[in-house]
Amino acid sequence: MSGIAGERRERTKIFPTLVLLAGAAYCLTPVAWVFVAASKAPGELFNSFTFAPGTGLLDNLARLFSHDDGAYGLWALNSLLYAGVGGALSTLVSASAGYALAKFDFRGGRIFFATIIAGLLIPGITLAVPQYLLLSDLQLAGTQWSVLLPSIVSPFGIYLCRVYAAATIPAEMLEAARIDGAGEWRIFRAVVLPLMVPGMVTVFLLQFVGIWNNFLLPYIMLSDTRTFPLTVGLNSLLERGSGAPSLYSLAIVGAALAIVPLTALVLFLQRFWRLDLIAGGVKG
């Protein structure tokens, strides 16, 4: 926080502050709206001024959680499962591959890294349809595996881990451990992983949010509402809104509620981010 040290003595710059506040207002308005709208009973939603709070919040919540035998709760759990497990596994897989690519000179390593970089340029979404074809041949489409497994692969995660490992793991330390007679696996667990934790937290968060917010992959893979994550579940509420329009207010309450945990997580973990990883120069 050294950059802000001299701030006190600075004269307040009014115009730039106002611009920043305008940006904040722009970003907060829809969030405020969705919380206000969540408090409206179905009849009020389309009949009262949009920023006037309603009277149906508790009622809406009760209806949301009882809808379709508590489907919403299941969706939230599914989101947590896909993002939590997928993110964690993805982080571990990326860390070990990133370490191998950064610290070993091995045949095929360069080619592998080049393919990973190419993978960065292919939008994940264009892969969704072929992935679906493949997984349906493996009889996996429609199961939770079909969302979980493809989420583990993250070229960006591997790339970041490689950058981080290259910058933070001193070669001498590895050599010393080897001379001490430690096996490669033990070196990885006891020396490398602890050093890489800050970078891994960043990769985990990126992956967690990425999977949590993903829509197309689960939308394509899943057909049973009980396996849906929140994004697909909310879409199904909205899509069925035209047949049973009272679902609109459910979709809004569901959306408001879906924002809360992830926002809390991201804001809380902001301090653990090593965004310098992405921004360029990594200093160990």
Partner: protein, 321 residues
């Protein structure tokens, strides 16, 4: 339960300093083992699907057998599907709409991200922590949820903006009409993407040596000059990275138009290229055309990204001279 960090076996090393041939062999094997899970998954969920799609794209379903409905079988059709895809007005039109959307979304996202990052880095600006948190907040909102919220805020009946303009006697704002749909869609991704990009750029700004900026200040340079002359060129790599991400994000446009579609006639069933691919694959039961279109789109994306990267690299080299 295996815990890779906490579990540290206390057993002493079995051999002394000089590595045995067996150990050396193991060390040669180690990088392969470490990258095996990633390689395997990458092969399984990226390389093989691409190959699979490639094969699928050369086949087609044709009807065989009698009866008014009959059943279908798969036949090899060479490049028929590709010819069909490249000739398909839905896909061509979709690419055009995508380009229009991208031209608005990408520069605005990056421009705003840079602006806010510079403001956060400017002494004398108040409420910086609040501003940073508020602008970053949309990152935690899934794209489809963002589209849902904005959708209701665009819709004349529930829009607070149109409510205001209506009471001023100006009528509704045509958010969802043909003229307004591009800015409206772009706005959703600008809203969602600015914060993350801002943080990346801000992090890069914090990495600039303070002496450099102090020196400029002593020379009498204003904050705007410092920002344009020193800070922006110094965060070049971060800007390149964020623009590539922005571009890739724009090419993946799917959930937002899908969510807005029920609200307006302006968005057709095949408005974005990915919507056309989804329709082929899952609604029209035509996986083969969908595979061909996916391949075309993936190759196109890779070409565009590579082109952007190359241009940037050339421009940077020129500047260095």
């Amino acid at each position: 339960m295996p815990n890779p960090v906490a579990a540290e076996p206390a057993t002493p090393p079995a051999t002394e300093g000089v590595p045995s041939p067996r150990r050396r062999r193991r060390r040669a094997l180690a990088p392969y083992l470490f990258s095996a899970p990633a390689m395997l998954l990458y092969l399984l969920f990226t390389v093989i699907p691409i190959g699979y799609a490639l094969v699928t794209s050369f086949f087609a379903q044709r009807r065989v057998g009698g009866g008014p409905l009959g059943t279908r079988s798969t036949v090899f059709v060479w490049f028929d599907n590709y010819a069909g895809v490249l000739d398909d007005p839905r896909l061509i039109g979709g690419l055009g709409r995508l380009a229009l959307y991208g031209i608005i979304a990408v520069p605005f996202t990056l421009g705003l991200a840079l602006l806010f990052a510079l403001l956060l880095d400017t002494p004398g600006v108040k409420l910086r922590r609040f501003g940073r948190t508020a602008i970053f907040l949309p990152y935690a909102v899934p794209g489809v949820v963002a589209a849902l919220m904005w959708g209701f805020m665009y819709l004349a009946g529930t829009s607070p903006f149109s409510h205001v303009t209506r009471s001023l006697g100006w009528g509704d704002i045509p958010f969802l009409e043909p003229g307004g749909i591009y800015p409206s869609l772009a706005n959703i991704s600008i809203w969602g993407g600015t914060g993350f990009n801002m943080l990346i750029i801000y992090t890069a700004l914090r990495g600039i040596p303070p002496q450099l900026i102090e020196a400029a200040r002593l020379d009498g340079a204003g904050e705007v000059q410092i920002a344009l002359r020193i800070k922006v060129p110094m965060v070049g790599p971060a800007l390149i990275l964020t623009s590539i991400f922005g571009l890739l994000g724009a090419l993946q446009l799917y959930g937002e138009p899908l969510m807005l579609k029920p609200l307006t006639n302006t968005i057709s069933t095949t408005w974005a290229p990915l919507m056309a691919i989804y329709q082929d694959a899952f609604v029209l039961d035509n996986l083969h055309d969908a595979a061909a279109a996916s391949i075309v789109l993936a190759v196109g994306t890779a070409l565009v990204s590579t082109a952007v990267l190359a241009t940037v690299r050339i421009a940077m080299k020129r500047r260095l001279r």
